[in-house]
Every structure is written in structure tokens, then in C-alpha cells.
């Protein structure tokens, strides 16, 4: 009950101040009637208004709705009598403010309007709706099942005998009729007769066929209870009243006809029990999520609103696209513990890995540079470092960057200049003095060898045993580096051959050997003019191929060397026309400073010589490597160095350059010995280990 001075209704927040005096009187009248059971309220307009208002609603209410209401009224009228006695008892117990909502009082005073609603003034918009509701209840109907003694809050105004809510018919409307007349969207809310028996039985659970169609399948009847529709506890109200109340609620909330759906919202209001806490009754309880009713009944849903069931609708089933498993790079997989070293499926994207190079097939690597484009010919392995143009460009860039960078050791003092060059200069001067002074001062004699080496003697004997008609082949495989030593070594042998008037043919496996030999023989040719012509002295030129050329020479010399240096046929003119094979020569003399060259001649050519002797003139540094061949008999003799030349000159008794330079050679050798000896002794006495070596010893 609102306070007299209240401006707004405490319940519905309706404005109470705008009411006119007659309206206020009217509202007060119907309220007073509810409290004191007063006689008929004042305000003759009120009955007229419902009638008047009934006229307009009657015009607006469709026929199907009117039929629904008539049925409800008839059902309620039957139950009113049974509840009248119980209502009197409750009225004595119920507080005064609650008696306002006594439906029995409403019966006697149909003009009374419930306090929760707006005032009953016809001019007031808040009361109009209530009066309209009263007018709608034009025909009293009996409803033995659904009659309530308690008036729900917000219930509409009833006629004198009935509660509008109670007048609502319980019987389900004719669904067929409703479907035919109702629009399509409303037909889905039409309740089937099968769903209403539960409501007719006074079940507390509210079954709204219209709403149950939208409920999910898993909802149970209990869960479908609406919190607003929860009935009071059985103990508070008489069983009969409760049953009636619940039945009224069920019928009210079970719109059997579409027309009744508009009125069910009124019946959804809770009844307020005076014994309970008003806050609990007014403030709705929190709705359990699980018990929340679905707003739509699944059975009455249109096809397009129904959820897609993959089981029932196989045609609508779409395969769920399965995501491809993520592929980690190989290097990350190896580090990841979760993968346990299992490699994931490789991705098929070409940009993830390269198809060439040392990292081919490994995911997550940057594509390298194709090196095949830079190598267009077969690679040759050499000691030189080969770089591509791109590598050179990058090295230049790196160098420029490094030059711009400040290094820490730039400010360091440079190391002090060493004075080793002085010692080098001294050694150089001494060496040159030892070479030139004996040449300038011929009075300085040398120590001649008393015994001749065996190899020198064999060489001499071999040359002496050569026949005069057979030519000798000389292989001049030396270069200019040791030309000085070899020139002094082979000149006595060459002179010996010229003295015996033996034809000489010479060739070389390098480009300068024949030229140097030809130059050194020019002085001897002056002594022996017969060798000035080509019939004694033939230059065969350059033999290509190295050791392969020697093999070819050994197989067929005429095919391998058909022409001489003058591009003339070498084997047609005498005395070389008798040479068909290499073994036809009187001897083979190899002049070389390299032991390997001598080995090639011995290994490749010697087997084809047969009985033809092979002589070698070699430098002193390579002589030990050829001594085994002499000891094995593969070569008949050899001359090594200046000492052998001096001995050969002594044997031929023709002293030449070797004998003249022996003193210089011996003095230089003594000087070298002295330098090594002195340096070694000084090093032994004054030993100062280097810092690097000292650390190594300590470590």
C-alpha cells in the first residue's frame, strides 16, 4: 500500500500525483473497498467506463480471443464458491495491506483496482489498461480448477465476481482454430492439446506450449520453471487454495489459444504472500543458468531457426577442415624437448627450404647462392685460392668497413727496427769477396783432387767406348737457375764428345733447355767447326708432355720428334738417318738440375734403351738421389757438381772453366763452413730462447 503522501507507487513507480481528484477518489475508493469491504464504490463513471471501455476493447478484441475468455470465466466461476470460504479465513490472517489483493473483495467490488496497478481513473493512462481488463471480463465464467484466493500483483481488474486472471480459461484452446486464424508467426506458439494436461493437473512447473517449443531438448520439466511463476510454499496457503492458485497459474501461463497469450503476461506475476519476506518475493531470485528456460521451443521452431543437428541432418553436414600440423624448423625440433627429436612433416612450400647447396632440404634456412652459375668449366684443384666476383666484391666491402674501424693496436708503438740487415750485408760482402778475389788474384791456388770418383771414371770410360758413327742424344732438361753450375759440369763432357767427333742431337722437355745448351755449345763449336753444321749438331726442339712425352719418345722417336728446330725432317739426313729407335743412339746423356727429371728419364726411357748407356749430368744438390740408380746399374755414370767436372777435365787433360774456378769454389765453401761453425758455437754459448718458445716450454 502506498503512502498517502507518496508521489509514486512503490511497486510499479507509477505517478500518483497526476491523478485528478475524482480519479484519486476513485482510486482511494477501490482501495478502500479492498481494505474494508466497503459498499459499492463511488464513482458512477467507473462502471460506465468499463462498459465504455469494454465497448472499444470488444471492438478490438478478435472473436477468437473472446471465446477464450468466455471459457476461462466459466471455469473460474465454478471454483469461486469453493474458495470463498477459505478466502474469508485468510483475510482474517492476512494483514490489512495484503487484503487489498484479496480476490473475494474484488468480486464484491469489481470496481476496485489493485494497488500495484495504476489508478482507476479513466483519464489516467495507467488505469486505463486495468479498466480495460475489467471490461474484458464481461461474462462471468466458472472455473473450478483455477480459482485463487490471492490476487496476484499486477492482475487486471475483474468484474464484480471474478478476478481477471482467474477468469482465464484453463482449457486449452482449439489449436486448430487458432492455427487457422492466427498468423503464421504466431502459429508456432500455438499449444498442442497434449501439452496442457500437465498444467491442468496443477503442476507447479509451468508448461507453456508456446514457449516449450523453444526449449532445448535437455531441459526437464522441473528446469522449465520460471522463477516468476514459482508458487508459494504449500504450508502457507490452504491446499485447496494452493491447488487452485497453481491451477490458475498454469492455465494462465498455458495459453491454449493464441488469444490468451496476451493475457498470460499478467498471470506471470507472482503472488505476494504476507508471511514471507517481501524482498524475496518482489526481487526475483537469480536465475540458474542451468534452469533457464530457452526462449524458444525447439519443436515449434521454424526450419530456418532450428539448430543444425549433424546427426539428424546428414545432408547439411560439412566436413570440418582439419588444420595442418605446424612444422617446426629442423634445427628447432632438435632443440625442442616436446618433439623428442621427431621431425615434423616437411612443408611443401618452396620458400621454406632450398633445393641446392649444403643446406638443401632443411627447413627454415635461407636460400643460398647457386654456385653452379659461377663455375662453367670443370674445376681444377690447385693451391691458389679461387674466388668469384661476388666474393671479391664482398671482401672489398668488408675491407672498407674494417679500414674505417678503429683498431686497438693502432696507437701502439711500432717495433724497433732490427739490425739484422747489417749482418746480412756483411755475409753478402764476404761471399762475394770469396768468389771474386780468387778470380782476380790467380796466384791463389786450389787443392786439386787426388782421387777421381768412380762415377766420373765410368762416365769417361763410357764416352771413350762410344763409336764414332753413332750419334748421341742429349736431353737438356735444365733451366737458368743452375745453368752456371751445370755449364761448368757438362762442358768437359761435351768437349769430349766433340773431340771424338760424335754427332750430337739434343732436345729438351722445357722451353729454354735447348736454347741454353745451344748457347753454351757455341764456344766449343768455335773450337770444333765441324759441329757448326746440322749434320753434327741437331736441335730437335721442345718435347711436350713431360713424362708422357718421354714414353712416346721411348716408343717411337721419329714419330714423336719428326722435325728439328729448323722445321726440317730430322731423320732423313745423315748421320741421323740410321736412328730408327731410341736404342739406336750410342748413348743417352741427361743434363738436369732436378732429381725428378732424372728419374723420369731413367724410368720411362731406360727400359727402351737396351744396351745403350745412359749418362747423367746433375747438380751437386740432387746427386745423392741419383746415386742409387748408379749403384743399381741403371745409369752408367754421372757427373755431379764442380768437383766431378774438375775430375773429368783432369781425366781428359783439358782444363777448362771448372779447373779455373775451383779455387773460388773452395774458398767460398770454406767461408760457408766457417760461418756455420762460428754461428753454431756462438749460439751454443750465448743461447737466448725466444719468448714464444719459452712459453711453450713452460706450458
Amino acid at each position: 500500500m502506498n503512502d498517502a503522501n507518496a508521489k509514486r507507487c512503490w511497486y510499479c513507480q507509477a505517478d500518483l500525483t497526476r491523478q485528478d481528484a475524482p480519479a484519486e477518489n476513485d482510486s482511494q475508493d477501490w482501495l478502500n473497498n479492498l481494505r474494508d469491504n466497503s459498499p459499492a464504490p463511488q464513482g458512477d463513471d467507473q462502471p460506465e467506463e468499463p462498459a465504455n471501455s469494454s465497448e472499444s476493447p470488444n471492438e478490438e478484441v478478435p472473436a477468437w480471443l473472446a471465446r477464450i475468455r468466455t471459457r476461462e470465466q466459466s471455469e473460474r466461476a465454478a471454483s469461486e464458491d469453493a474458495l470463498s470460504a477459505s478466502s474469508e479465513e485468510l483475510s482474517s490472517e492476512i494483514p490489512d495491506w495484503l487484503n487489498e489483493f484479496n480476490p473475494d473483495q474484488e468480486k464484491e467490488k469489481p470496481n476496485e483496482i489493485l494497488p500495484a496497478s495504476a489508478s482507476a481513473q479513466p483519464e489516467n493512462e495507467d488505469d486505463d489498461w486495468l479498466k480495460k481488463l475489467e471490461s474484458w471480463q464481461s461474462e462471468p465464467t466458472s472455473s473450478p480448477e483455477k480459482t485463487s484466493t490471492d490476487v496476484t500483483v499486477g492482475s487486471r481488474e475483474k468484474p464484480a465476481e471474478k478476478n481477471p486472471i482467474e477468469d482465464e480459461a484453463v482449457t486449452p484452446p482449439d489449436s486448430a482454430l487458432i492455427k487457422d486464424s492466427a498468423p503464421e508467426w504466431l502459429q508456432a506458439f500455438v499449444q498442442e492439446p497434449k501439452s496442457t494436461p500437465a498444467a491442468q493437473q496443477g503442476n507447479l512447473s509451468v508448461q507453456q506450449p508456446s514457449t516449450s517449443a523453444f526449449l532445448p531438448a535437455e531441459r526437464t520439466p522441473k528446469n522449465e520453471e520460471d522463477s516468476l511463476l514459482r508458487d508459494s510454499e504449500p504450508g502457507q496457503i490452504s491446499p485447496t487454495a494452493e491447488s487452485i492458485e497453481s491451477s490458475e497459474l498454469d492455465t494462465a501461463l498455458a495459453p491454449s489459444q493464441p488469444g490468451e497469450e496476451n493475457e498470460t503476461w499478467l498471470s506471470s506475476y507472482k503472488k505476494i504472500h504476507p508471511d514471507k519476506d517481501i524482498k524475496e518475493q518482489v526481487i526475483p531470485a537469480p536465475v540458474d543458468q542451468d534452469q533457464t528456460k530457452a526462449p524458444f521451443n525447439e519443436n515449434s521452431l521454424m526450419d530456418w531457426m532450428k539448430p543444425i543437428d549433424p546427426v539428424t541432418n546428414p545432408s547439411q553436414k560439412e566436413p570440418v577442415p582439419q588444420l595442418e600440423p605446424a612444422a617446426l624448423p629442423a634445427w628447432l625440433q632438435a632443440l625442442s624437448l616436446k618433439h623428442n627429436g621427431k621431425a615434423s612433416a616437411p612443408s611443401h612450400s618452396s620458400s621454406d627450404f632450398s633445393d641446392f647447396g649444403p643446406l638443401a632440404g632443411i627447413e627454415g634456412t635461407l636460400p643460398g647462392e647457386e654456385l653452379n652459375q659461377f663455375y662453367k668449366r670443370p674445376q681444377t684443384f690447385s693451391g691458389l685460392l679461387k674466388t668469384t666476383e661476388s666474393q671479391q666484391v664482398r671482401s672489398k666491402l668488408l675491407k672498407n668497413i674494417a679500414d674505417q674501424t678503429h683498431w686497438e693496436d693502432e696507437n701502439l708503438e711500432e717495433k724497433p727496427h732490427s739490425h739484422i740487415w747489417i749482418f746480412r750485408l756483411i755475409v753478402t760482402v764476404l761471399m762475394l769477396a770469396a768468389v771474386f778475389i780468387p778470380l782476380l788474384f790467380t796466384q791463389i791456388s786450389s787443392i786439386a783432387p787426388s782421387l777421381y770418383p768412380d762415377e766420373v771414371v765410368q762416365t769417361f770410360n763410357t764416352v771413350n767406348a762410344l763409336s764414332g758413327g753413332k750419334p748421341v742424344l742429349i736431353a737438356a732438361d735444365f733451366d737458368g737457375s743452375l745453368f752456371g753450375e751445370l755449364n761448368w759440369s757438362y762442358q768437359p763432357l761435351l768437349a769430349h764428345l766433340m773431340e771424338r767427333n760424335i754427332p750430337i742431337a739434343f732436345l729438351s722437355t722445357n722451353s729454354e733447355g735447348t736454347t741454353l745448351l745451344n748457347q753454351s755449345a757455341s764456344t766449343l763449336i768455335k773450337q770444333y767447326p765441324a759441329y757448326a753444321s746440322s749434320d753434327k749438331w741437331m736441335n730437335l726442339g721442345y718435347l711436350a708432355g713431360g713424362s708422357i712425352g718421354l714414353q712416346g719418345l721411348a716408343q717411337n722417336i721419329q714419330t714423336t720428334m719428326p722435325l728439328n728446330s729448323a722445321l726440317q725432317s730430322a731423320w732423313l739426313s745423315k748421320p741421323f738417318d740410321t736412328v730408327k729407335r731410341i736404342s739406336d743412339f750410342g748413348a743417352l746423356i741427361v743434363i738436369t738440375e732436378n732429381a725428378d727429371t732424372g728419374k723420369y728419364w731413367i724410368e720411362q726411357v731406360k727400359p727402351s734403351l737396351g744396351t745403350t748407356p745412359m749418362l747423367v749430368v746433375i747438380s751437386a744438390q740432387s746427386a745423392p738421389l741419383l746415386q742409387p740408380y748408379y749403384a743399381s746399374g741403371q745409369i752408367s755414370g754421372y757427373l755431379s757438381g764442380l768437383n766431378s767436372a774438375v775430375a773429368y777435365e783432369a781425366l781428359t787433360k783439358t782444363p777448362q772453366n771448372a779447373t779455373a774456378h775451383l779455387s773460388s769454389f773452395q774458398i767460398t765453401m770454406v767461408l760457408a763452413i766457417m760461418l756455420v761453425l762460428i754461428g753454431g758455437i756462438v749460439s751454443l754459448i750465448f743461447y737466448h730462447p725466444q719468448p714464444g718458445k719459452k712459453k711453450r716450454v713452460n706450458s
Binding site: I447, P628, S683
Partner: protein
């Protein structure tokens, strides 16, 4: 994957050459000789190509790119072209043309060898300082002894029979060392040749 064609060809050719060497009476000489001639011709052509690559591939690129010491590369190219042209016109046996070798190349090589001799002589002073161990000492002693023997100043010792035998024995030591070196080189050459013949080593990028 490398092509197996080249190793197969090298194997067949090597087998023919070896068989012709070990069996001279067989008809393989008729095959071996032309093949050797082809090899000689190819080696000559390869030498010519190497020279052209050196001149126009290396020095010409340095001259074109103006890299470091590009002037020397230009001098090399000029000297080559001049020598080549003179050889074509004068001939290799021309005494004036041969002065290119006798007056330029030979003195340069001889000078480098002389510098080597001086350097070795100076290095011998610091021999024991660098190798202050037993091996260095033995090397020091051996250098002294063989320099004395090869110098000839101890030739008077040959007249003394006891000393002559000592000197002869000492002279045989290098021969023994050389035999060991030659045996090792021969075995290594044999093994390398077999590996190349069988295709284990492919220096020809086959």
C-alpha cells in the same frame, strides 16, 4: 651425382697403357702409341691455353679493373705479345731471338738462385739458435762435415787408407737416406696412380 663416364674412360685408358707396358708383344702397342701421341698433343695445347689464361684471364682483368699493381700486369701483357710476335717473325732458332732467354730469363733465374745462396748462408749462422735440440745439433754437425768433404779440401785424406775408408763410409750415408726417400716416393706414386686409375681420386673433376 658425378658422371661415371669420365672415370670409366680413365680406367679403360689406364688399363690399356699398363697392359701394353707389361705385355709389349701384344697388339696393345698399336693402341697405346696413338693414345700417347694424343696425350702429348693435348699437353702442348693445355700449356698454350694456360699461357693464354694467364695473360688474358688474370693480367688483363687486373689491367681492366685497375687493381693493385695493374701496371705490372700491363707490362707482362706487352712483353708476352712482343715475344710472341718476334718468335713468329724471327723463329725460335734465331740467335737474336734467343737472347730473350739468354739475356733476360737466365740472368733473372740465376740472380734468384744467388739470393737463395746468400740467404741460406746467413740462416746457417742462426741454425742452433732456432733448433736448440739434439736434432739441430746433429744437423749442424752433418752440414759441417759434408761441406768439408764436398769442398775438396780434404782430398789429401784419400791418400791415407784408414781415412779413406772413413771418408767412403761417410759418403755412403747420403746414399742410404736417398734410397729410403726414393722407396717412399715410389710407393706413394704407385698408390696414387692406382687410386686415380680405379677412380678413387679424381683430380680431373670426373
Amino acid at each position: 651425382m658425378r658422371s661415371p663416364l669420365i672415370p670409366i674412360i680413365s680406367f679403360i685408358v689406364g688399363a690399356i697403357i699398363l697392359a701394353g707396358y707389361f705385355f709389349p708383344g701384344s697388339g696393345l702397342a698399336a693402341i697405346r702409341t696413338p693414345m700417347l701421341d694424343w696425350a702429348v698433343t693435348l699437353s702442348g695445347v693445355a700449356g698454350l691455353i694456360a699461357i693464354i689464361n694467364l695473360v688474358f684471364g688474370v693480367h688483363w682483368r687486373r689491367l681492366r679493373d685497375s687493381s693493385k699493381d695493374y701496371l705490372f700486369s700491363g707490362l707482362v701483357i706487352f712483353a708476352f705479345l712482343a715475344t710472341f710476335a718476334l718468335g713468329i717473325f724471327l723463329g725460335p732458332t734465331n740467335p737474336d731471338y734467343q737472347k730473350v732467354v739468354t739475356a733476360i730469363q737466365m740472368p733473372i733465374e740465376a740472380s734468384l738462385m744467388a739470393v737463395l745462396a746468400i740467404t741460406l748462408a746467413f740462416s746457417s749462422l742462426r741454425l742452433l739458435q732456432r733448433q736448440h735440440n739434439w736434432m739441430g745439433l746433429f744437423f749442424f754437425i752433418s752440414v759441417i762435415v759434408y761441406l768439408l768433404l764436398n769442398s775438396g779440401i780434404l782430398s789429401f785424406m784419400a791418400n791415407i787408407p784408414s781415412l779413406q775408408e772413413v771418408v767412403s763410409s761417410i759418403s755412403l750415408v747420403p746414399i742410404a737416406g736417398a734410397r729410403g726417400i726414393l722407396i717412399g716416393v715410389a710407393l706413394g706414386s704407385l698408390l696414387t696412380g692406382i687410386r686415380i686409375w680405379l677412380g678413387s681420386d679424381r683430380p680431373y673433376n670426373g
